[in-house]
């Protein structure tokens, strides 16, 4: 088994399955915060997938997307927290 096959047939599926598992939490909730945690983790796992994929396809450019993803994940979490706090304060 070559490195590519290993990445393709072992690592990528593991990561995908991880996303699937996390997604279960996303669906289950129960609170918005749980979903935000799940979302954040999905994106983070996405970074992993991208990194592996960039090795597999020999395309380092994909790593740049990882950078943006990291930024985005953070922003999403912040926004939801911001919302939660605002909502709570005004209720």
């Amino acid at each position: 088994m070559s490195l590519y096959d290993y990445l393709y047939y072992i690592i990528l599926p593991i990561l995908s399955v991880s996303i699937l598992i996390i997604f279960v939490r996303f669906i289950k909730g129960p609170t918005l915060s749980d979903r935000v945690v799940a979302l954040d983790l999905i994106i983070t796992t996405g970074i992993g997938i991208i990194a592996v994929y960039s090795i597999h396809t020999n395309q380092p450019t994909f790593l740049d997307i990882a950078m943006i993803l990291a930024l985005i994940a953070f922003l999403g979490t912040v926004a939801f927290s911001y919302y939660l706090e605002k909502r709570e304060r005004n209720d």
Binding site: D64, I68, F74, V78, K86
Partner: protein, 136 residues
């Protein structure tokens, strides 16, 4: 949100992200990126900062209304498109300065155009987000 942790982090994140945004802008012609994504990242940087410190503080940093970036960016983009008309070429024809400039690379109307895009995007995103935040 008055959390010390976020505030402190944001004041380090802001310059970091702005650098990153310009980096993405300049490399767009060769690799993924460009004015649009660059502008978004820059805008996100300011948005994060405003989440942490309040809009007034962020406004203080930018020093003028972010909406002002839109006409400026549009003017830059328009000028880059119009420049070729002066030499009788069609609108938006790429004009290039023939010797590559160190660091930035090739300078041409396309790059100037992308800078226009970059500024417009910042102006747009900040106008939208700031306006909403202010009227909540």
């Amino acid at each position: 949100m008055k959390t010390i942790i976020f505030k402190t982090a944001s004041s380090y994140l802001l310059p970091l992200l702005l650098l990153f945004a310009i980096f993405i802008l300049l490399r767009g012609h060769y690799l993924p990126g460009g004015g649009f994504v660059g502008g978004l990242i820059a805008a996100i940087a300011f948005v994060l900062h405003s989440f942490a410190n309040g809009i007034e503080r962020t406004r203080g940093i930018i020093k003028f209304h972010p909406g002002f970036l839109m006409p400026i960016g549009l003017s830059i983009a328009l000028c880059s498109g119009l420049a070729p008309l002066l030499v009788g070429s069609p609108f938006m024809t790429g004009l290039w300065y023939h010797n590559p400039i160190p660091v930035i690379g090739m300078i041409g109307t396309a790059l100037i155009f992308d800078i226009g895009v970059f500024l417009v995007v910042i102006g747009v995103v900040l106008t939208i987000i700031f306006t909403i935040s202010e009227t909540i």
